[in-house]
């Protein structure tokens, strides 16, 4: 079953840049396949939310408030009578965008800064190390909360805080990898034949050191989704009535004794997405280990 799909996809790719070994390795790791499929499904749900969701996620219907799961409302309704399934489907848009955006931008910035810092050393390296020292002194959530406190609660400021905090870890990771890789023979060889610094970094060093950063990015996506949900849970992130999973759990708190479905389902949604990205990260790191050994 698995192999046939593998051949099907690999066969459909135009031959030339040898995609076969990569795809085959990809398909051989069940955690990668399962994780990627779940992520694809969630992304599809986010894109197709208007046609998938049975109800308008913010329309209130007091006649149907706090109802347990039923045929009309498969995941029940909240205190305003809003359909929870529809809110969870629309919530994928916010939570996924937090995960992707707040990981992708720091990844690019952090890899750039880390590469330059590790390759050249000197003043930029010293400054980066001090920035890291100071940032490490702040507990992750305290730093996030302090930034949101300065800027004011809200979705945009939450994105900003996560991006501002996130790039440092990538910079530190890439810097460490570059420090080792720039001593290796292939780098010396590239330099010896007269390659420019930029060419050495982009063509020779980065392709060899980017792997761990990509693996780490998968855990960063999980961390950012959890952080975004946590901030919204505290009332510092997404504001009502926008459907977001953490905020939905926060709104359910006054009903924990009577309406178990209100906190349960948004939490399961976060967990499923988190596990999917963890599985992809696991699979990628196994892939990386095999390639290195």
């Amino acid at each position: 079953m698995n192999t046939t799909t593998g051949e099907g996809i690999a066969g459909a790719v135009p031959s030339g840049r040898r995609p076969r070994p990569f795809l085959r390795a990809w398909l051989r790791s069940p955690s990668l396949v399962v994780g990627a499929l779940v992520i694809a499904a969630v992304v599809a749900a986010a894109c197709l939310a208007p046609s998938l969701a049975p109800y308008n996620p913010i329309r209130q219907d007091y006649a149907a408030a706090v109802q347990p799961p039923s045929a009309a409302h498969p995941l029940g309704t909240d205190k305003f009578g809003r359909d929870q399934l529809s809110r969870i489907i629309y919530g994928t848009r916010i939570d996924l965008s937090v995960g992707f955006l707040c990981t992708a931008l720091p990844l690019v910035v952090g890899v750039g800064v880390g590469a330059v810092s590790g390759y050249y050393g000197g003043l930029i390296d010293t400054v980066l190390m001090r920035v890291i020292d100071v940032q490490v002194a702040f507990p992750f959530y305290v730093l996030l909360i302090a930034i949101v406190a300065i800027l004011g609660p809200g979705l945009i400021n939450m994105y900003f805080a996560l991006i501002l905090v996130g790039w440092v870890a990538f910079a530190r990771l890439i810097r460490g990898e570059i420090l080792i890789a720039k001593q290796l023979e292939y780098t010396l060889a590239a330099r010896a034949i007269g390659a420019s610094d930029a060419r050495v970094i982009v063509r020779h060093l980065l392709p060899n050191v980017i792997g761990p950063a990509v693996v780490f990015a998968m855990s960063a996506v999980v961390l950012n989704i959890l952080a975004g949900a946590s901030l919204s849970f505290l009332g510092l992130g997404v504001q009502p009535p926008i459907p977001e999973w953490g905020a939905m759990i926060a709104e359910s708190r006054e009903y924990v004794e009577t309406a178990w479905w209100l906190p349960t389902f948004p939490g399961i949604a976060i967990t499923i997405v988190g596990i999917a990205f963890s599985l992809v990260g696991d699979g990628l790191s196994g892939f990386l280990r095999r390639r290195r050994s």
Partner: protein, 312 residues
């Protein structure tokens, strides 16, 4: 001598970090877009009350003078005053810090108690059903929001089974241990998910080491080899990781305290942000950062004293 040099260098580095922290925290209030005084009091505030608060915060003076007042205040242990609670921030810190410290320490102890047996079991029965289950548990726990786990624990153990109280911190030590059990367990489980994998991999790496082979060749009983020769070496990296996770635990306590309505620093900080009580936010941020810096410093010094390789 080298060791002393290392500790001195580490102390100097810490001093620089603390100075930068103080400057950053000083600028926190001044970075607020718009007029912080108007933001704190609302648009309907009278000009008199605005002027009074501006004077109280020292914002009507030049920045260097403000900084001098801030720094000399810090030296006296004065972090300003809360506008909502109408008390010095330092009084709030003294009331609430013990709860947070108790919670974080408790969570670390529970994490250790969970990690060691599960890490050993996973490594000794590598790839068995138990190992797979423990790894599955790790992935599940890393991907689950702690505030949600906390709420589920409250529902199951607090509301349904009524084994634990649903809020508050208790008065005596025994009451603390009882009231804070669920929140500490929630935090401890989250950390142990990471630690178990680390300990398992470290034990697997140590099992093949020469000194372990020698110990076995000498005919030492299996249990003794595991405890004295494998675990003692493998646990070092896990302890290092636990040290690194202290910052994460302290940060996580902000969220968990809010879930369980504990009278610690975190729940007060969130209330202060929502109430625009900026001096509390500022003071608490500094206390958190100093706390974590001191713990990291102590960890590094303890390492320099234990492991002779550090000072090389």
């Amino acid at each position: 001598m080298n060791r002393r040099g290392y500790i001195a260098g580490r102390l100097a580095q810490m001093t620089v970090t603390l100075a930068v922290l103080a400057v950053l925290v000083f600028y926190m209030i001044r970075l607020i877009p718009g007029d912080p005084v108007i933001t704190m009091l609302g648009i309907q505030a009278t000009p008199d009350s605005v002027a009074a608060l501006r004077h109280q915060l020292g914002l009507d003076r030049s920045v260097p003078v403000q900084f001098w007042i801030f720094i000399t205040g810090l030296a006296r242990g004065d972090l300003g005053n809360s506008i909502l609670v109408r008390e010095p921030v330092m009084v709030l810190v003294r009331q609430r810090l013990p709860v947070t410290l108790f919670l974080v320490t408790y969570a670390m102890i529970l994490a250790t108690i969970i990690t060691i047996p599960l890490g050993i079991a996973g490594a000794l029965r590598k790839d068995s059903a138990a190992d797979q289950a423990i790894r599955g548990f790790s992935v599940l726990w890393i991907s689950t929001p702690s505030f949600w786990v906390g709420i589920l624990m409250l529902i199951v153990f607090g509301v349904w089974l009524e084994w634990f109280p649903v809020g508050g911190g208790g008065r005596t030590f025994a009451e603390h241990a009882y009231y804070l059990f669920l929140p500490a367990l929630t935090m401890g489980l989250g950390v142990s998910a990471v630690l178990i994998r680390n300990l398992r991999d470290a034990i697997l790496a140590t099992l093949g080491a020469e000194h372990v082979v020698v110990a076995r060749a000498k005919g030492l009983p299996g249990r003794r080899v595991i405890v004295r020769h494998v675990l003692r070496n493998a646990i070092l990296s896990t302890v290092t990781l636990l040290g690194l996770y202290i910052g994460f635990l302290v940060g996580g306590s902000v969220i968990i305290e809010s879930v369980f309505a504990l009278p610690g620093m975190g729940s007060e900080m969130v209330a202060a942000i929502l109430g625009r009580d900026y001096q509390v936010v500022q003071g608490f941020t500094l206390v958190y950062a100093v706390l974590v810096s001191v713990v990291y410093l102590l960890t590094d010094i303890a390492y320099a004293l234990i492991d002779p390789r550090v000072s090389l």
